[in-house]
């Protein structure tokens, strides 16, 4: 189990906040930050960079938190929710939907551990998928740029596709740059000149 993960708990009720933090410590998570004052949330999220944020489902400040977490970088942190009543159906539905929102029974502290573990595991899968998706998107974009650069060279210098690519590669090697950077520069220049 990974206990090095940074967890931020947002809860205005100080007693309850202490109970939750204690339960997390008991379960082995040491890097836990407690926050009772919602007005400090933007600064805290920025400075502490939590990987998981725990907040009560009934807390109206959820919308503020949502804005802060999604405005920065959605893929980077999960928002886990806790409610007073255990609602197995809701927990399962949340898990099935693959969202980074999970329900923990806030009052039964012994249940925090398994649910949070599931949440973290799930969150990692989603983050992994997200970064793979981002990488795939980037690769596609790069390919399009290189194709455009090749096309430009083929038209302007009457080259074959292979010659155009060789020229891009040679230029990149000579200048110690990546092929995509050379291609990007060429495409930008071509757009400016057209």
């Amino acid at each position: 189990m990974e206990t090095g993960i940074r967890i931020l708990v947002v809860e205005p009720d100080e007693d309850r906040l202490r109970d939750i933090v204690d339960a997390l410590h008991d379960a082995g998570w040491q890097d836990v930050k407690a926050l009772a004052q919602i007005s400090a949330i933007a600064r805290t999220v920025k400075e502490y960079e939590p990987e998981i944020v725990l907040i009560d489902l009934a807390n109206p400040d959820r919308d503020t938190l949502e804005h802060i977490t999604s405005a920065t970088d959605t893929g980077k942190r999960a928002v886990a929710l806790f409610v007073d009543q255990t609602d197995a159906a809701l927990t399962n539905a949340a898990l099935k939907a693959g969202v980074s929102a999970y329900v923990v029974d806030g009052l039964k502290m012994n249940r925090i551990k398994p649910v949070l573990e599931t949440a973290i595991a799930r969150f990692k899968v989603i983050r992994q998928m997200q970064s793979e998706l981002d990488a795939a998107k980037q690769a596609l974009e790069d390919r399009k740029t290189i194709d455009r650069a090749k096309g430009f060279l083929m038209r302007q210098r009457k080259m074959t596709e292979e010659e155009a690519y060789s020229l891009l590669r040679k230029t990149a090697m000579d200048q110690g740059r990546r092929v995509i950077d050379v291609a990007q520069a060429l495409v930008t220049a071509a757009d400016l000149l057209s």
Partner: protein, 377 residues
């Protein structure tokens, strides 16, 4: 016959009135469904409950289904807008400190307010909005973007706490739905400078939303719900019913607000500053008149565009405003249906008669303060 019970989410605001009236005055029962109204603590919570199937339908900020169709926000789900629940109804206000600097600027003049802020205020101003995917935020961005040198910082604040946020200097200004603008004025911490309708005269504010697959699997319930809400909205917008509407809303356990806080939005008598007489703002908030309930696909398109969608995104977003269902299900409840499902947003400067099934549809002005028009066809 046992009636279907529909779990219907809402956030306690004056513009949740159509759902409350549909239940309290038994329009829902007459249409064969029972509404179980479930109050939600935040828009994020409401969205999750709807997406995860704990709610069958819900009042939503009009940009929410559009944003979700574009894959924005933290929860992916296919949510459609069955109809528009309310048009306009928000207000922009400023703290006493900021208002003092804007002294002499006429109420309800977006261009003048913007110029005065730019001229008399240095540094960025912090503006509170209820939710990132809200018409409030889109109108704010639209308005502020006409003066690019103005620096604004958007802060999400739950509406019931907006007056506190202004009082303790957390925000300099705010864009909020009623009653929370009037609450800030009555507490003496802020002044209202303009209504949402001063920026866009016909902005879809809340919609009745449901999951796309729920709608196709529960056609009878969706139909009954839409008809009940349509009739409730019609009842609400009739002038003679307004005093009674305020009374019912203040007494119902759903809003938990006194009559004097519900009255300004329902009647359009808004008090911009404590100790001054209320001003009558035409079409401050309406529920039914001028085909207000019709989910124009061009409205969804405008929202998608403000959210930064490209051409394909805009076309896709249009389909989540279900004008097709509106036509099918409201046929026969005296609903007048427009000939088209899109219009050029911003093109109407005056009340205008348009082609419709019953032949007497009048559309309200829908102009933007800067005169822009948007054609998405």
């Amino acid at each position: 016959m046992t009636r279907s019970v529909l779990n219907c989410g809402y956030v306690a605001l004056v513009d949740s009135a159509p759902l409350i009236i549909a239940q309290e005055l038994e329009f829902a029962a007459e249409e064969g469904v029972e509404l179980n109204l479930v109050r939600q603590p935040s828009w994020s919570a409401l969205r999750d409950m709807l997406a995860l199937g704990h709610l069958d339908a819900a009042q939503m900020l009009s940009p929410m289904p559009v944003a979700m169709s574009l894959g924005m926000g933290s929860l992916p789900a296919k949510i459609d807008a069955l109809m528009v629940l309310s048009v306009n109804g928000t207000a922009f206000g400023a703290s006493n400190r900021l208002s003092a600097r804007l002294d002499g600027v006429p109420f309800g003049d977006p261009g003048a307010i913007l110029k005065a802020i730019a001229k008399r205020v240095s540094g960025p101003i912090r503006i509170g909005v209820p939710f990132h995917f809200s018409m409030h935020r889109l109108l704010l961005s639209y308005w502020a973007s006409t003066l690019p040198e103005l620096q604004i910082e958007e802060v999400t604040v739950p509406p019931p706490r907006m007056a506190d946020a202004v009082a303790d200097g957390h925000v300099d200004a705010f864009w909020v739905g009623e009653p929370w603008g009037s609450v800030a004025v009555q507490r003496g911490v802020a002044q209202l400078l303009m209504a949402g309708r001063d920026v866009w005269q016909f902005a879809p504010e809340k919609v009745l939303a449901a999951r796309h697959d729920w709608i196709s699997q529960n056609e009878l319930e969706a139909r009954a719900l839409m008809r009940a809400v349509y009739r409730a909205a019609g009842w609400l917008d009739a002038n003679q019913n307004k005093p009674l509407a305020v009374e019912i809303l203040s007494r119902s356990e759903h809003l938990d607000l006194p009559a004097e806080l519900i009255d300004p939005a329902v009647t359009g008598h808004i008090t911009p500053k404590i100790g001054t007489a209320p001003v009558q703002i035409p079409r401050f908030l309406h529920f039914h008149k001028f085909a207000a309930n019709f989910p124009w696909r061009s409205q969804a398109a405008w929202i998608a565009r403000q959210l930064g969608a490209d051409g394909a995104g805009i076309q896709g977003a249009k389909t989540c405003f279900r004008s097709d269902l509106y036509r099918r299900h409201l046929f026969g409840v005296n609903a007048d249906l427009p000939g088209a499902s899109e219009k050029v947003e911003g093109s109407l400067k005056f009340e205008t008669a348009v082609a419709s099934t019953r032949g007497h549809m009048i559309l309200a002005p829908d102009a933007f303060f800067d005169g822009s028009t948007f054609d998405f066809s």
